[in-house]
């Protein structure tokens, strides 16, 4: 899923300052699962904003609304009947959602309430961890199912740097060394000889470096 962090209230207040009628828009997908931008978090942020406006004597009308997905236009369309009543949309979706809502309502400013951080997994209740950078050419078959581009701080493709110590990364003692994980896993799979192969320089053109990406599947188009 896509994981994010709520922006600090101060930053959000700075963004919404010029407005008095605000549509606070949640998303029921990834950001709900990672507890940052679903119905519940919309409620929490709305309360914080109302408390602030009451305390500061500011006039602020907030409508809370959460749609199924902010990355699909059929759901974004569901707010069309009332969106014009609000001066601004404060989106609690990931960056993709924020942008797609803005795309559909060109006359309304759409502001981000969260910082989108990574594609990851839930390690335990309240803990998420990055796993994928969307490189566009997956090499997990060669690295024991652990991505060195994501899990190594230097995205090294041919093994651990000299800073790997006791299974941890030199960048942060709390972070596992991605290459230690790969080596352990290859060993467990009886595939450590795979490590001896030199991985050639990567073609980064399929990743973000190649420019904005788009996928068209002719067989599923209407």
């Amino acid at each position: 899923m896509i994981v994010g962090n709520r922006k600090p209230l101060e930053e959000i207040l700075g963004m919404i300052k010029p407005y008095k009628r605000l549509l606070l828009l949640g998303c029921n997908e990834c950001v709900t699962v990672c507890s940052v931008g679903g119905e519940r978090e919309v409620g929490v942020l709305a309360s914080e904003l109302r408390l602030w406006s009451a305390k500061e004597g500011q006039d602020l009308e907030i409508r809370e609304h959460t749609i199924e997905r902010q990355c699909d236009h059929e759901y974004i369309d569901q707010i069309r009947s009332f969106v014009d009543e609000y001066e601004v949309i404060l989106s609690m979706a990931c960056g993709a959602g924020v942008q797609y809502v803005a795309d559909k309502y060109p006359t309304r400013p759409v502001l981000p309430a969260i910082n989108t951080t990574f594609l990851g997994v839930t390690l335990e209740q309240g803990v998420w961890s990055e796993r994928c950078q969307g490189g566009g050419t997956c090499i997990l078959d060669q690295t024991g199912g652990i991505c060195p581009i994501t899990r190594c701080a230097k995205s090294l493709l041919n093994g651990p740097c000299g800073g790997s110590s006791n299974g941890k990364c030199e960048v942060d003692k709390e972070t596992d060394c991605g290459w230690q994980l790969i080596v352990d896993r290859l060993k467990e799979l009886g595939q450590l000889d795979q490590y001896e192969e030199i991985m050639p320089i990567k073609d980064w053109s399929t990743s973000r470096d190649g420019g904005p990406r788009k996928r068209v599947r002719e067989d599923s188009r209407l």
Partner: protein, 308 residues
């Protein structure tokens, strides 16, 4: 010989090699390099010039190498993958060769988190092994990474680093094997304090015959004080400083500690020279360049063969 490198020539003659390093200044004053260089005159066969080590901005390795070249040294251009993509790397390789630099040391590079620009974007378009392969391909096959022909091949002697003490230990020799397969010709190791563990690593290296395919130069760094030893042990990732060394330094009065540090360094060099497969010593006296001559002399490494 593949290059005009002084180290390659000495290694081919079967002699022991001595290298050291020079950290460029955090400013544009070339005199700093000249002063540091003067301390190494007739003491070493090649001088590494670090490339923004620990991710702190300094004068470029390339420019500093040229200053040392003008002084008559055979500089070793350190190049990290952190700050350059394949376009810049290959361009710098051509430029360095054109200006008479004969050696390159291919490194991944410290993460920018440790430096003075922790908010920087890193590159890592390639890693150190791929960089070794890039230099070799340009030099021996006359091809760029992209496949086009190089007109005027860069004759660089290819080096890399190895850390025998980093984890996972069991793949450390395999990692060196990959560097050899990629085309590395000489290796400078991380500072060695734990000689026993280094011997274990060398055993694995010899077991694979890697010492015959690349020249291993063993790295040493003298301690200035017990504080420095503790810092290296606890704060520098991938550094292995045995407790008895810290106790030995700590047991000396403060004013005697640097002298003891040099003594330890000399004892280490003697032990390293006896290990089969060690072809040279790389003395890294961090911001203590004035001690390199003393160490080389006391270790019986002088005089050095004349530069041709």
């Amino acid at each position: 010989m593949k290059t005009k490198s002084n180290i390659e020539r000495i290694l081919e003659s079967g002699e022991f090699v001595v290298t050291s390093e020079c950290g460029p200044p955090r400013g544009a004053d070339p005199e700093v390099i000249r002063r540091k260089g003067a301390l190494l005159k007739e003491v070493v066969d090649g001088v590494n010039v670090t490339d923004n080590q620990t991710s702190v901005v300094r004068m470029s390795s390339f420019a500093s190498c040229i200053i040392l070249k003008e002084m008559g040294f055979d500089p070793i251009l350190q190049m990290v993958c952190r700050d350059r993509n394949r376009i810049a790397i290959q361009s710098d390789i051509l430029g360095a060769a054109a200006l008479g630099i004969n050696n390159i040391l291919c490194l991944s590079g410290d993460h920018q988190k440790f430096g003075d620009h922790a908010q920087a974007k890193n590159v890592f378009d390639m890693d150190s092994i791929q960089l070794i392969n890039t230099v070799k391909m340009m030099r021996d096959d006359g091809r760029f990474v992209g496949g086009d022909e190089v007109n005027g091949r860069p004759r660089l002697f290819i080096g890399a680093a190895a850390n025998p003490f980093a984890d996972p230990f069991e793949i450390r020799a395999a990692r060196l094997a990959k560097k050899v397969k990629a085309g590395v010709e000489f290796i400078q190791t991380q500072c060695i304090y734990n000689v026993k563990k280094f011997e274990q690593w060398m055993e694995m290296v010899r077991g694979r015959g890697l010492h015959e395919k690349c020249a291993i130069l063993a790295g040493v760094t003298p301690f200035k004080s017990v504080g420095m030893a503790r810092y290296m042990k606890n704060q520098v990732p991938g550094m292995d400083v045995p407790d008895e060394m810290i106790e030995r330094l700590g047991g000396m009065p403060k004013e005697k500690q640097s002298e003891e540090g040099i003594k330890i360094c000399l004892e280490t060099i003697q032990r390293l020279r006896e290990i089969p497969g060690v072809r040279g010593i790389h003395i890294m006296a961090i911001e203590w360049e004035e001690k390199v001559a003393e160490i080389a002399k006391a270790a019986g490494l002088l005089p050095r063969p004349q530069l041709t």
